[in-house]
Assembly symmetry: C2
Homo-oligomer: 164 residues x 2
DNA sequence: TCGCCGAGTGTTACAGTGTATCACCCGCGA
DNA sequence: TCGCGGGTGATACACTGTAACACTCGGCGA
C-alpha cells in the first residue's frame, strides 16, 4: 500500500487511496475481473492525489530502478479502470483522477477543476442530470456518455485570496 | 469564399460558412481586431463541416502546392477564434467546430456528438445553466468556464437505424 | 524619410498524448 | 503436455500542442 499505512486507514490525507483499493477489489470480485498488480499500482498512484495525473506522470511514478513501467501499460490499466468506473478521465486536461463516489451512473457527475491549485473535486447534481435528460430528449439525441467539467477557483483558494 | 457562393447565400448546405464569416467580420470590427486571411481561411474550413476538425486536418486542407500552412499557425488562428467565441473546442475529441449560435455566454451550451456519423450539434439549455450555477454555488466554486459534451446517437442516425 | 514598435505569420524543434503491433509470460483447461 | 487467452513488456509511430526565433508589414513619432 503506501508508506504510512499504519498512521491512518480511513479517508483523508491522500485522496483515500485505501478506500479506492478496497472498492476496486470488491468490484473486480463481483464482475469476475482481474485486479492485477499493475492495475492496483496505477489506481494507488491516481488515488493518492487530488490533482489529475497524466499517463506519463503515472508511468514515471511507478518506475523504479528495478522496474520500468511503460506508458502503454499505464494506458491499458487506465482503460480498464475507467471502464469499471474506478477512475475518470478529465478531458480538458488529458489526465486522470480516481473516482470518489461509488457512483451509480446517471448521478449527474460534475468535475470542479481549480485554476489556481489544480485540485479536482467531484459533485453530483440529480437536477442537472434531469434537465440534461429533458434537453437531450427534446433534441432527439440518445446519450451514451457525458462529460461536465467546470474550471474556476475552488472554495479553498477563494478563502486564501480573500484573507490576503 | 467558396466555390458555389452564388447558388446560395443563406444557411444550409455546408454548415453555413458564409454566415460564420459575416459574424466574424462584424465581431472583429466591433472589437477592433484583425480578421486576417489565415483566420478567415481557418474559420471557413471549420465552418464548412458539421464534424469536428483537428488542427492538423485544417492545416492540411489549407495547404496547397503554392502555400504551406503549418499546424502552429492554425493553432494560433484557432486560439484567436475560440477566444472570440467563433469556434469551440471539443475537448473529448481534441478537435474544433464553428459556433452556430451567436451566443451570449452563459446560455448553457451543450455539445451533442454522434458516435455513429460524427456530427456535432449544439443546443442550449438555460435550465441546465441555472442548475449548474446552484450546484457550483453550493460547492463554493467560482466558475470561469465549463464544458458539457454528450456522446451518443443523433436523431438522424436513430431514424436510419430504425427504418433498417 | 528613417527607424522603431507591435501584431501576425513562417519555420524549426521539441514535448506531451495516445495507439498499433508483436513478442512473451503465465495460469488453466483439454 | 499442449494450446489458448488475458495481461504485460517493448518498440515504433501517429497525433496534439507549445516554445523560441526570424521575418514581414503597417503605423507612428522623431
Amino acid at each position: 500500500m503506501h508508506d504510512h499505512a499504519e498512521t491512518h486507514d480511513a479517508a483523508g490525507c491522500c485522496g483515500d487511496a485505501d478506500g479506492a483499493i478496497s472498492r476496486a477489489e470488491r468490484i473486480c470480485r463481483e464482475r469476475d475481473l482481474q485486479f492485477t498488480r499493475l492495475r492496483r499500482d496505477v489506481l494507488v498512484a491516481v488515488a493518492g492525489q487530488t490533482k489529475p495525473l497524466g499517463a506519463y506522470d503515472i508511468a514515471e511514478r511507478l518506475s523504479a530502478p528495478g522496474r520500468r513501467v511503460a506508458a502503454v501499460s499505464v494506458y491499458r490499466a487506465l482503460d480498464f479502470l475507467t471502464e469499471n468506473g474506478l477512475v475518470h478521465r478529465i478531458a480538458s486536461r488529458n489526465a486522470f483522477v480516481s473516482c470518489g463516489h461509488s457512483h451509480t451512473d446517471g448521478a449527474g457527475l460534475v468535475f470542479l477543476i481549480c485554476r489556481n491549485c489544480g485540485t479536482i473535486d467531484e459533485t453530483t447534481s440529480p437536477e442537472i442530470e434531469h434537465q440534461l435528460g429533458r434537453t437531450l430528449a427534446k433534441a432527439g439525441f440518445k446519450p451514451t456518455s457525458r462529460i461536465l467539467e467546470v474550471e474556476g477557483e475552488c472554495g479553498a483558494c477563494l478563502g486564501r485570496s480573500a484573507e490576503a
